[in-house]
């Protein structure tokens, strides 16, 4: 049903997405579009369905209806690892890193090679892997901690490590769930700097509560409320939307 030729297709098109948990619609008829190289921030009160949207895109939760199109592929029909291969990376809300492995090994596991059982058995740590791990470690401020057990990192460093694990995957769409939650002020500034550096050549979808941080990074903001879009646009526009002020910013 191609009506007109689109000059620049969206990277991600979410259309009429609905998910219902025993009748409760956590996400209800949601549609939004993310362009190439765009930073989109999703905000909204607790229980608005923000994390569920990310779960749906990365395949953790299966949609009840609707479609998620990413680079011409319908993600609702793919398995989690196929979605990763298609180019979607996702960071979880609490830092999900491997405590029993070193920082180097944490990053190495995310290196996009040898992902099958046989591939993992025969994987060798060659120069390409080492260089890439060192390069990413430098970006995420953990260059001198590569041989340290990841369990010993601070909370902020763990968050960076997980962002680094996603960077090594080199996804076209990076999804971050509250990347600065629980961080100190200086860590937050560093994270904003980090995000601004890593968004080159990729789109980013961020969930965040910290308004100052959102203003710093967002190109466009989507406000969710009860599983639906309340408002969408630039931060300036959203901030002055009376509906948004009532349900979210006013509190």
């Amino acid at each position: 049903m191609l009506i007109g030729h689109q000059p620049k297709p969206f990277l991600l098109s979410v259309e009429a997405l609905t998910v219902s948990f025993d009748g409760f619609k956590a996400v209800n008829d949601l549609s939004f579009y993310v362009e190439e190289n765009e930073i989109r921030v999703i905000i909204g009160p607790n229980g608005a369905g923000k994390t569920t949207v990310l779960d749906l895109i990365c395949g953790k939760t299966k949609a009840t209806s609707g479609s998620i199109e990413f680079r011409g592929k319908d993600l609702t029909k793919l398995k989690e690892n196929q979605i990763v291969k298609a180019g979607v990376g996702r960071k979880f809300q609490t830092p999900s890193i491997y405590d029993d492995l070193t920082v180097f090994e944490n990053l190495e596991i995310s290196f996009p090679r040898g992902r099958s059982v046989f591939g993992a058995l025969t994987f060798t740590r060659d120069a390409a892997v080492r260089d890439r791990v060192h390069e990413v470690a430098e970006t995420i401020f953990l260059k001198d901690r590569l041989n340290m057990s990841a369990a010993l990192l601070s909370h902020g460093q763990k968050q960076w490590l997980e962002i680094g694990m996603l960077l090594i995957q080199d996804p076209d769409l990076l999804m971050l769930d509250e990347p600065v939650a629980g961080m100190s002020v200086s860590e937050r500034a560093k994270t904003a700097e980090l995000l601004n550096r890593i968004i080159k050549d990729r789109s980013v979808l961020v969930i965040e509560h910290d308004m100052k941080f959102v203003e710093d990074i967002a190109h466009k903001v989507t406000v969710l409320h009860q599983g639906q879009i309340l408002s969408e646009g630039t931060m300036e526009k959203v901030k002055n939307d009376p509906k948004v002020i009532e349900v979210y910013l006013g509190h």
Partner: protein, 381 residues
Amino acid sequence: MNDNRFATRSELLGILVLAVLLVVVLPLCLDVFRLNLVAKYLTYAFVALGLVMCWGYGGILSLGQGVFFGLGGYCMAMFLKLEASSVENTRIQSTPGIPDFMDWNQITALPLFWKPFHSLTFTIAAVILVPGIFALIIGAAMFKRRVGGTYFAIITQAVAAILTILIVGQQGYTGGINGMTDLRTLKGWDIRPDHAKVVLYFFEVSLLFACIVIAQLIRHSKLGRILVAMREQEDRVRFSGYSVANFKIFAFCVAAVFAAIGGAMFALNVGFMSPSFVGIVPSIEMVIYTAVGGRLSILGAVYGTLLVNFAKTSLSESFPELWLFGLGGLFIAVVLAFPNGLAGIWGDYVQPRIDRLIAARKPKSGAGWIDEPVADGAPAE
């Protein structure tokens, strides 16, 4: 840095010490009867080794490893039984040339699925493939559906119970509750006299070391690190582009094949195979060996198996009723006080002292020991 090496320096040393113990010390110190007991214990060490891979590293607790031990053992026992049931040996039966228990159960011809076990090559392949494929099927059915943890453990128990009932019930085909007894020769070579026991012991030890080497290779490959990663953050691994189910299936199959090799060696060393090594109780005992040895330690599994079995033999000789309570108590004590078993005690208390001694003697070379990978002594949850 912990590279894709086969073993670190201290692990290599540990393997060497174990080799000296099993190849030199025990054969010199023990008489043939005791050495054959060690051989019997070591067959369980294969199972414990598999459990280290699947439970310790992969976090998949299987309470049904007896199934694979039994499948391997029965495959081997079928070959040996057929060889022992030659026409001359079974003249007095109403149907000569078939195993005695078939004759007792009014079976007059060798069942079809028994026929290939005339071939040793087929038997060796079956020892590996039957349990391997069975584990693949169970693993695929469970892990692809995301069944894990306690549910998986319960299902493996159920499988162990089912297989025991099946073996006991199909007496004419399996030998029933008595199992397959009176195994005599392997390709004409009598496995019963003392010198054969010694040869079989050394053959078994070399197989055990082959399995240890395979386990080490897996552990130090990226796959080994993915198993550890999966145990801690399954979702993170999944959303890093890995099919978690496939890795779990692999670990489970490796554990199954190790257990089956142990089972086959059991049939050879002990000279019989019975359903009492298949069911729930032996399966749980095998988990206890692993827990006592240290579920994260490949060598610990071997020591744990040997120690618990030595204790079992000596204690059950003097206090037959108390032994099971002792075993249960031991398991509880290990889980509560030493979650990493003997290997954990070694790593926490003994190794640091040795390191300090060495460091004190040679102040400069001491630094090399600190570089050992952190993952080795990592705490289990």
